[in-house]
Subunit: 316 residues, 2 copies
């Protein structure tokens, strides 16, 4: 068995520090130092004051690295002194695990649970289990969990049983708050930049396109001001790009912006985008019949190579 046959789990923790690169260096360094972990990408946003680290590897290594990254964040980030455009509740704010290869969603739920328990036991950071890992319906949706942010949760948690952590607590960590940990499908985290400084336009478009207010299913969206770029942003998560693909979300934002007389400056991806989502985009705009990732050279080689070596035979 070669390395490329081992199961691969992805983890994309978000940390509440996007301005002090020394702190983000420490966090990313802690993650990358775990043997077997592949550090895939790291990005910081000063306006959001938030960083996203993307890594993958064999599940046990990925769990170790997630805990190591959380540990560095708890040691260095104080939510009492944190400001930024993006809502946040913890020093390490959310730790999603995504099954990439050779793993089921149930496997990913088990690994997420293991990471969550260690985060409480080793770091005294209480945990909400969210998405596929949720053990309560009211904790599935990250936006619900994050309502009121660090300061609001700190108050509400004592009196509102819905806000009780799923692991640890009962209070939030005094400086690091609380974290959401869970398994989920791959998603597309994607910002559309609009040629205006009027944040109400971004908020209005976000409201129009997101599922929770009657827009497109599996689309989450928020509007933010982006002073560093002199524009505003519709920040989207496509939580199931097979239900609402990238082109549908993009065209919906473009149409809404057009009605408000605002142009799209460009878009920004956060983290990495699944290749299926990119293939579906080309299929749509180039009107390619019978297209899928099976028609793309490099993934096709990879897949046929893997199936040949695993003895399932060549593919027709």
């Amino acid at each position: 068995m070669t390395y490329s046959d081992t199961p691969i789990l992805e983890c994309i923790p978000n940390f509440s520090e996007g301005r002090d690169s020394a702190v983000v260096d420490e966090i990313a360094g802690a993650i990358a130092s775990v043997p077997g972990v592949l550090l895939l990408r790291r990005e910081s946003d000063g306006d959001h004051n938030r960083s996203v680290v993307t890594f993958a590897g064999p599940p046990a290594a990925v769990v170790d690295a997630a805990v190591a990254g959380a540990s560095a964040a708890v040691a260095r980030i104080d939510l009492n002194r944190h400001t930024g455009a993006h809502p946040r509740m913890g020093a390490v704010d959310v730790v999603p695990f995504v099954p990439i290869r050779g793993l089921t969603m149930s496997d990913a739920v088990v690994y997420a649970r293991e990471a969550a328990e260690r985060i409480w036991r080793e770091l005294a950071l209480p945990v909400y289990l969210y998405e596929e890992s949720a053990t309560r319906g009211s904790h599935v949706n990250l936006a619900d969990l994050r309502r009121g942010q660090f300061e609001g949760i700190r108050e509400a948690i004592a009196t509102d049983p819905v806000r009780t952590p799923d692991i640890g607590g009962p209070a939030v960590h005094p400086t690091a708050g609380i974290v959401a940990v869970g398994a989920r499908k791959p998603l597309v985290a994607w910002n559309v930049l609009l040629a205006t400084t009027d944040v109400s336009i971004a908020k209005s478009i976000a409201r129009e396109v997101r599922g929770s207010s009657g827009g497109m299913p599996t689309v989450k969206a928020l509007g933010f001001a982006i002073p560093s770029k002199g524009c505003v942003q519709v920040s989207m998560n496509l939580t199931d790009y097979t239900t609402t693909p990238m082109h549908a979300a993009f065209e919906a934002v473009r149409a809404a912006a057009g009605r408000l007389g605002v142009e799209i400056l460009g878009t920004e991806l956060i983290g990495l985008v699944p290749q299926d989502a990119i293939a579906a985009t080309a299929e749509y705009y180039l009107k390619i019949g019978e297209f899928s990732i099976e028609r793309v050279l490099e993934p096709r080689i990879e897949r046929v190579d893997r199936s040949t070596r695993s003895g399932t035979g060549s593919e027709g």
Copy 2:
């Protein structure tokens, strides 16, 4: 060293049989029977009366398989009885080799030459060396080599020194004609179907968009009638999709068709499309800033994994 670290050469031979599936089965079977070869795709077009087999693997195996496929085609296809929309000069018409991984273009030229010499020596099929393998300027371009097709070349080859084979000859093979063998960059072979039965419209659009008649660089295009689908087709080869990307070719065909009042029904890819070309499409239509294949999850994992295992270290 694992299999996935070995060099990978791709070969995409085109055969002049797209109607008799038993013949294509034999050809594909001969190719797939070579150990180490990954059969990636096979497709036949009855209107063109032509089939394309896409395979890849370690270079020595790929050369063996190319010769094996050519051998089956020479044994089973008689150009004297072949008709089809697509121009053709040989039973195996063109055998391109593309360096995919761990190989330079010069390496691919060497392997193509080796295949060409064996095709002449073992099958008595004369060869034009084309594209990067050409040894004469007049033999670089496949369209020039194929002028007059099987019947025309059979006549011209005796009197016109430009038509002399580069390997073998001097006459064409009595039933299998002559074949073009060479190394080239990956290309995008792509048909655009138009909602008309008037082939002159497809020919006119092909003339407008192709480089040789003043259109876009690195675009080859021909117009064909496609009776089986009740439409016509602009059949393109994008020989360098970094120079003229897919979206540019598509939008040019769409604009030309629009001026003629004809709609695009859809498009068809032949063979496999390089992932970079698909990523560039998404970047363009979704206006994604700083996008590349490095931002796509699965290829990014693959690349970081490979560079980590090869000891070049992790990537930032």
